[in-house]
């Protein structure tokens, strides 16, 4: 019997993966050939989607990007026009260091048996064996830092919650992946949801929490459905419930849907939203570790932080810390998007450069035009010019170059980009998404839009640029959270790196 793997990742569905799966199944019936179609997540080689794989003697053979009319030739002995050879040998995949994405795209995401067979649950088993204190120690020694962008040491956070005394503690996963150019959370929710379940269970055991919430953005309806199904399977199999893995403490997880507010990706706004309120940012202190969800000690981490922990526990902190550069240890899933030939997910140790990702992996601009700018870290991230594309991607190097790593997304822009327009967009986005609690963000972003408009219109350009820089400084220094605090980054990086876009224009 032929085993054929077809992704059910939502981006793959967006280019026809369901239709291709249906065509393969029909063709199998027509030829009276037994076919087992396994729906998987995506490997993250999106320009090849739908990327269909057929199990062979030496491994899985890839075919893509497949269209409905290519299905029939999969059954022929002759070479398929879209054959790619062994998938694991594809340079884009082979050059990666996949720890947290090792299974994504390979297995049926809702099969716990497949998850276990590929090394799943070994991390949780080890955590239960060594006990809570040593589990926190392992996370600390691994050097893992918050993958949401802030880069705070995860072990320190867990240690604070473990040390807090309370009748109830919570584990909260931030899966409100709102940054344009990022899709790693979505891929894992759809392609390997049990890695998140396991990571949260490890955290729960480490700090003594019994209840977890995953806050998934409503723009990811497919991911929400898959994850809810995974939770049901996890409960049925006893991974979650009164005794984790049958002998551990009690822990259960509930998935919650966001409602279209970008600011809810900020941790305290997310907690407010989970509590059923408007997503208004809270002043810190108190830290969520001590007074988080419903006022109780709470571990709130990004999805990728939780998803990193099963590997760390299974293979040891030292093995994880062997990857990386400087104070950025381990691997980061980078996501390449925008005007790029080979958009996708690349998991690598910190330290790879922007240029390596955009040119070597990404293959340059899909439009064929020259690349002029790469925005790193989402809508609040800096625009890097050609001269700075050799900057290594780690927390410190990004900050040294007046940028930030954020959630690891890279958006490639060709020479048609206008940085004054992008600066205006960043500020308008901030104005629209501001929770309204603090003045620098709420009013500053609006005044920023007006000031950029004056610059674009050529009115008092030098004075207005000075005013804009001053305003950006006020927002950076005076905002309550990262939304107002970082929204100036795309503006100032434009002013610094692309000053020519802010000079008076010739008449249109």
């Amino acid at each position: 019997m032929k085993r054929i793997f077809v992704p059910a990742d939502s981006t793959a569905l967006g280019v026809g993966a369901n239709e291709v799966a249906e065509a393969i199944s029909l063709e199998g019936r027509r030829r009276e050939e037994a076919v087992e179609i396994v729906r998987t997540g995506s490997r993250g080689l999106f320009w090849l989607e739908p990327l269909v794989e057929i199990e062979g003697p030496d491994g899985r053979l890839g075919f893509g990007p497949l269209e409905v009319e290519d299905a029939s030739a999969l059954f022929d002995a002759a070479a398929h026009p879209k054959a790619l050879g062994l998938v694991e040998e594809l340079p884009y995949l082979k050059a990666q260091q996949r720890l947290m994405f090792a299974r994504c795209g390979k297995i049926d995401p809702l099969s716990l048996a497949a998850y276990r067979a590929e090394g799943g649950l070994a991390g949780l088993a080890r955590a239960l064996e060594i006990g809570p204190e040593k589990t926190v120690d392992e996370i600390s020694m691994s050097g893992l830092r918050g993958r949401g962008g802030a880069g705070f040491p995860t072990g320190v956070k867990w240690g604070a919650v473990a040390g807090a005394r309370a009748d109830q503690k919570y584990i909260v996963c931030n899966a409100d992946e709102g940054d344009s150019g990022t899709f790693a959370d979505r891929m894992l929710l759809e392609g390997d949801p049990f890695v998140l379940v396991e990571g949260m269970a490890i955290a729960a055991h480490a700090v003594g929490a019994t209840k977890g919430y995953v806050y998934i953005r409503s723009e990811y309806p497919h991911a929400f459905k898959v994850f809810c199904a995974a939770l049901a399977k996890g409960r049925a199999a006893g991974v979650l419930g009164p005794n984790m893995l049958g002998h551990g403490p009690a822990f259960d997880i509930e998935a919650r849907l966001g409602a279209g507010a970008y600011v809810c990706g900020e941790e305290t706004a997310l907690l407010e939203s989970l509590e059923g309120k408007r997503g208004l940012v809270r002043a810190k202190p108190p830290l969520p570790a001590l007074q988080g969800l419903f006022g109780k000690p709470t571990v709130i981490n990004n999805l990728l932080s939780f998803a990193s922990t099963p590997w760390i526990l299974a293979h040891g902190a030292a093995a994880y810390a062997d990857f990386g550069a400087g104070r950025s240890r381990g691997t980061q899933p980078f996501q390449i998007a925008g005007d790029v030939k080979r958009g996708g997910l690349v998991e690598l140790a910190f330290g790879v450069t922007i240029r390596q990702l955009v040119e070597d992996f990404g293959g340059g601009a899909r439009s064929g035009r020259p690349i002029r700018a790469v925005q790193v870290g989402g809508p609040l991230g800096a625009y890097f010019p050609q001269e700075l594309l050799d900057t290594p991607l780690d927390y410190e190097a990004m900050i040294a170059n007046k940028g930030m790593l954020g959630h690891g997304g890279l958006v490639v822009f060709n020479d048609r980009i206008d940085l004054a327009k992008q600066a205006r967009f960043a500020l308008a986005f901030c104005a629209k998404e501001s929770c309204g609690k603090c003045t620098p963000c709420r009013i500053g972003s609006q005044r920023g839009v007006e000031t950029v408009d004056k610059i674009i219109a050529g009115r008092n350009v030098a004075a207005n640029i000075e005013l804009l820089r001053d305003l950006c400084q006020t927002m950076t220094d005076g905002s309550l959270c990262a939304l107002g605090g970082l929204a100036p980054l795309p503006v100032t990086s434009g002013l610094d790196n692309f000053p020519e876009d802010f000079t008076p224009r010739t008449a249109q």
Partner: protein
């Protein structure tokens, strides 16, 4: 929109009531109501306030904070078109212009010919930008031909 049922206050009351004892039940309740009825009717406000033991003003405050929750029913197909940076970089704004010129559709506009097309910021399909959700179904690598097909199919259903 997917099949929804006409607003009825009793059905709404039952939905609200089933989540009475859940901590932080507000957003799940609002999502449930919108899934059933396609929007959140004003009559739901006192129901929710009563069950969650908060004021009507607070309830309205939450509903109006989140862009997802509709206050009026919608008819026909709803397209959520991504206009964030990755889709901008891949030519998404030209599609907004194409919709206006070719089909007379103003994105985020009220009234006018259908389907309803709303701005969203990121659907997570950035590797194959531009992208949209058509009644919840993803469409990636959007171009003019795909937009034309979406519009035609939506108008055929109306």
């Amino acid at each position: 929109m997917s099949a929804t049922t006409p607003w009825d206050v009793q059905g709404a009351g039952e939905i609200v009531d089933t989540r009475r004892n859940e901590p932080g039940a507000m957003l799940p309740i609002l999502h449930d109501l919108q899934e059933r009825f396609g929007y959140v009717d004003d009559e739901a406000v006192p129901l929710i306030a009563e069950v969650l033991n908060i004021s009507k003003a607070e309830t309205l405050g939450v509903i109006s904070f989140y862009p997802d929750f509709r206050r009026q029913p919608v008819e026909g197909t709803v397209v959520k078109l991504c206009r964030a940076e990755s889709c901008q970089a891949a030519g998404g704004e030209a599609l907004v212009e194409h919709l206006r010129r070719r089909h007379g559709i103003v994105v985020d506009g009220n009234g006018g010919p259908g389907p309803i097309i709303e701005t969203v910021y990121c659907l997570g399909h950035c590797a194959l930008s531009p992208a949209a959700l058509v009644d919840g179904a993803p469409v990636a690598r959007l171009d003019e031909a795909k937009i034309d097909a979406i519009v035609a199919s939506a108008r055929g259903l109306r």
